[in-house]
């Protein structure tokens, strides 16, 4: 028997159509996965060297979500601070009006002292505002309430300074009858020196405030941080505390008219300054809020871009996958049909 050119063995004749079957089945199964998930069946294999980028993109996506969440928290801290600041401003304005009224009436001193006391209590409460997790005016030392109640804390030192200066009854200098004899010049000197000393940096942090000078902040982009609150140590807060204490704690009810006017004048002036400073702080926080809003907007945009990129890297065009699946299915059917046909073709059937 001679070798025939272009001959074929029975194994190749019947097997060649079959050879493609496992490959086709694998491809159909992959196309099925791609259709149902919308992603490539084996993302790592299809991306190769680009797989690292895909891991990074997914991480960046998670990072954007977590940043957006923490910026929302920062926004809420800012609004909280703004609310407290505007309350303080309106308290201060009410106090200023009351000072004018107090000056006009005879028993104005007693009323003014009363009002100053309650405004001071409101200031303390405002500074100790907490959002449940942190004291927002405490700066980074946010775990402890920043300011002590006036009566329980700084009052002792103020009383002592007052009593020593004017030789008053140490137990209750405000009600000592000698208070009425204090002259305007003496009062001015006391306010300028001993009293102001109570609010120096050292005494403020010793007797009044446990807050840190560094306010709460949030990072908006990369390492840039913006303040999300102010602290109890700012000049505005100290001025307010000083003015309210002046009127509330120096026996204003019993002072001579001249001395009382010195106190009221000084307090009015300080509160006026403080209101301006509060407005400036509010404006600063408004800028922070603005930057946070921009950052959130930028993050949203970046998120969309990342989603698009992930889609481009890993995604599969559903229409294309469906078409591919149809083509593969047809191919597989043809392969089965061919195998069947070839099996039937035998010389035995024709002899």
């Amino acid at each position: 028997m001679t070798q025939i050119t272009g001959s074929i063995s029975t194994a190749v004749w019947t097997g060649s159509a079959n050879l493609a079957v496992p490959r086709l089945q694998k491809q159909i199964s992959d196309a099925g996965v791609e259709l149902s998930t919308g992603r490539r069946a084996d993302v790592g294999l299809s991306l190769g060297a680009g797989a690292g980028e895909s891991v990074l993109l997914h991480a960046a996506r998670a990072s954007i979500d977590s940043q957006t969440k923490s910026l929302a928290l920062s926004s809420s801290i800012i609004s909280r601070t703004q609310t407290v600041l505007s309350q303080m401003t309106s308290d201060a304005n009410a106090f200023l009006q009351n000072m004018v009224a107090a000056r006009a009436s005879n028993d104005g001193g007693a009323v003014a002292a009363q009002q100053a006391q309650s405004t001071l209590a409101a200031l303390t409460a405002g500074l100790n505002t907490s959002d449940g997790q942190r004291y927002i005016f405490a700066g980074i030392n946010s775990a402890v309430p920043p300011v002590a109640d006036f009566g329980a804390g700084p009052k002792a030192a103020v009383d002592a300074a007052f009593a020593t200066k004017f030789g008053l009854n140490a137990a209750s200098p405000q009600t000592d009858p000698k208070v009425g004899q204090i002259g305007a010049a003496d009062m001015t000197s006391f306010l300028d020196n001993e009293f102001a000393g109570q609010f120096s940096d050292a005494n403020w942090s010793a007797a009044w405030s446990k807050a840190s000078d560094q306010p709460l902040s949030a990072s908006v982009s990369g390492n840039a941080r913006v303040d999300t609150a102010t602290t109890a140590n700012t000049t505005a807060m100290r001025n307010l505390a000083m003015a309210y204490t002046m009127v509330a704690g120096l026996g204003t009810a019993n002072l001579s008219e001249a001395a009382r006017n010195v106190v009221l004048d000084r307090a009015t002036k300080m509160v006026g300054t403080a209101v301006t400073q509060l407005t400036a702080i509010g404006a600063g926080l408004g800028v922070s809020q603005n930057r946070i809003d921009h950052a959130v907007e930028a993050l949203t945009q970046a998120g969309t871009l990342i989603d698009t990129r992930i889609g481009a890297l890993e995604g599969v065009d559903a229409a294309e996958a469906k078409t591919r699946m149809d083509v593969l299915t047809t191919q597989l059917q043809m392969s089965y049909a061919t195998t069947g046909k070839l099996m039937q073709l035998s010389i035995l059937n024709y002899i």
């Binding site: 028997m1 070798q3 025939i4 001959s7 074929i8 063995s9 029975t10 194994a11 190749v12 004749w13 060649s16 050879l19 992603r39 993302v43 790592g44 294999l45 299809s46 991306l47 190769g48 060297a49 680009g50 797989a51 690292g52 980028e53 895909s54 891991v55 990074l56 997914h58 991480a59 960046a60 998670a62 990072s63 977590s66 940043q67 969440k69 923490s70 910026l71 928290l73 920062s74 997790q133 942190r134 405490a138 700066g139 980074i140 030392n141 775990a143 402890v144 840190s212 560094q214 709460l216 902040s217 949030a218 990072s219 390492n223 941080r225 890993e314 035998s346 010389i347 035995l348 002899i351």
Partner: protein, 487 residues
């Protein structure tokens, strides 16, 4: 020409047809054996004009056979590498999943950013520590998987070597049968088929090249030139390693005393399963382990704490320690670091630590405290840690990745590297499989059996047998007529 000569011719033709039919039926019987070749009965005309079958040969095509062997070896090597890489790929999983160290590292980085934005929330600090623990664990796991992949490859090499030795013994038996049979002039075609089948199996394990000698003798060399078989089988030796870790190198395979794998191989084999497995065990897995180790070292050094008092004490391990209880910061590559990296006991609540030390520092004593007042919303150190994660640092050259990168970039590059290896190996495997299938098909078509053709031949032979028998009948009648005349 006499009647008896005519009778003789008819007789020899009858025998020849019977022999050919028997060869053809052998072909039909072997049609389903992929290694069987088509047997051919060669006939010659005798002096008195008859025909007889002088020998039986087989259809062969050496060029196609050699090409099939080569394709077989190449595809076996790629297949072994592909299996190894698939094992290593389980350390990564889907890029979307949180399996890979790179993804875990990104999660840690996010957790740190979240903690830095709200440092006074202990839950976020705790979350960052948990993320760090997951990262350390994923590096430990990945390292274990890499070493398991190496150990598996080592075990498979041992199995391959045993198989090759067995096959060489079988080859010796068949080769002896062929050589001895050829001397006697016997039919050796079946033995030759079996010998080829054994050689095909050997080529699966290691690349081979063959030289044919007189008397149908065959000498086998590895594709690098070491002698596997020359009249007698040579011994292939390999010592499997009972345990492999990042610091140990697997043993080499020796053929007839010559090293054919490993760094010191004088004749390194290029294809076959053993070559592929060796590449997985000694190169791919080792490089990947180096990358993991360098990620681990990068983490220990990025999170290291420095002396805050100005006392100049050396940096000490912070959130990540090179191993449990150690506070050293390794300055250069340490093999196996990924397997031992752990989070610092000082921040691990399950070991009596406080997660707040991540915010405040001080895992190595008072000199390393960054937040001396203990302020609850202090973010400076956490910001610093995020910056350190993204800061460029040097990495070992053995990792086959850029030498200067941030830990995050390095970990991501490692993912890319592995997937790229996988992609290129899968591509190679696919094309080599196609080549193998094409070469096998071509060989089978050239030397294999076609049932239809055999059947058609048998019809031919049947006719020839009938004609010869008829002729004998005619001669018989002539004799009868002649004898009747004489009587």
């Amino acid at each position: 020409m006499s009647l008896s000569v005519a009778l003789n011719t008819a007789q020899s033709s009858l025998f020849a047809a019977a022999s050919k039919l028997s060869v053809s039926s052998r072909n039909i019987g072997a049609a389903n054996d992929p290694s069987a070749t088509r047997k051919i009965a060669l006939t010659a005309t005798t002096a008195d004009g008859g025909t007889r079958v002088v020998s039986i040969t087989r259809a062969s095509n050496n060029a196609l056979y050699v090409r099939m062997l080569q394709a077989n070896s190449d595809s076996a090597a790629s297949s072994a590498m592909n299996d190894g890489l698939a094992g290593l790929q389980t350390t990564i999983g889907d890029p979307q999943s949180q399996t890979s160290p790179a993804a875990r590292l990104a999660t840690l980085s996010n957790a740190l950013t979240a903690a830095a934005n709200t440092p006074d929330d202990p839950a976020l600090g705790q979350a960052a520590v948990t993320a760090a623990q997951d990262l350390a664990q994923s590096l430990n796991d990945a390292s274990a998987i890499v070493q398991k992949t190496r150990a598996e490859a080592d075990g498979k090499i041992a199995a391959s070597v045993t198989h090759v030795n067995d096959l060489l013994q079988q080859f010796a038996t068949e080769n002896d049968a062929v050589v001895n049979g050829s001397i006697r002039g016997a039919d050796v075609t079946d033995a030759m088929d079996r010998r080829d089948a054994i050689l095909t199996q050997i080529s699966q394990e290691m690349g081979v090249s063959t030289v044919s000698r007189a008397g149908n003798d065959i000498v086998i060399y590895t594709d690098s030139g070491a002698t596997l078989f020359d009249r007698s089988p040579r011994t292939v030796t390999f010592q499997a390693s009972p345990a492999l870790d990042a610091a140990t190198t697997g043993k080499a395979v020796f053929v007839d005393g010559v090293a054919v794998t490993g760094a010191d191989a004088t004749m390194p084999i290029r294809s076959g399963a053993i070559a592929g497995l060796t590449k997985v065990r000694d190169q791919i897995a080792v490089t990947y382990q180096t990358q993991l180790d360098e990620v681990a070292r990068g983490l220990v050094s990025a999170f290291a704490e420095s002396d805050q008092t100005g006392g100049g004490a050396p940096d000490a391990a912070g959130l990540f320690t090179a191993s449990r209880g150690s506070n050293a910061v390794p300055p250069v590559f340490v093999a196996g670091l990924a397997g031992t990296i752990a989070i610092n006991a000082a921040v691990d609540p399950s070991r009596g630590g406080a997660p707040s030390r991540l915010r405040d520092g001080g895992m190595n004593g008072a000199a390393y405290i960054y937040n001396p007042t203990g302020a609850a919303s202090y973010a400076g150190h956490l910001d610093g840690l995020t910056a350190a994660l993204n800061a460029t640092q040097p990495f070992a050259a053995g990792a086959a990745l850029p030498g200067n990168a941030s830990v995050s970039q390095f970990a991501t590059a490692s993912v890319s590297w592995l997937e790229q290896q996988r992609q290129s190996t899968t591509g190679n495997l696919d094309s080599q499989k196609a080549v193998l299938s094409q070469a096998t098909g071509a060989l089978s078509s050239a030397t294999g059996i076609n049932l239809d053709q055999e059947y058609a031949n048998q019809l031919d032979l049947e006719r020839s047998y009938q004609a010869s028998a008829k002729l004998m009948g005619v001669v018989n009648q002539l004799y009868d007529a002649l004898l009747a005349v004489i009587r």
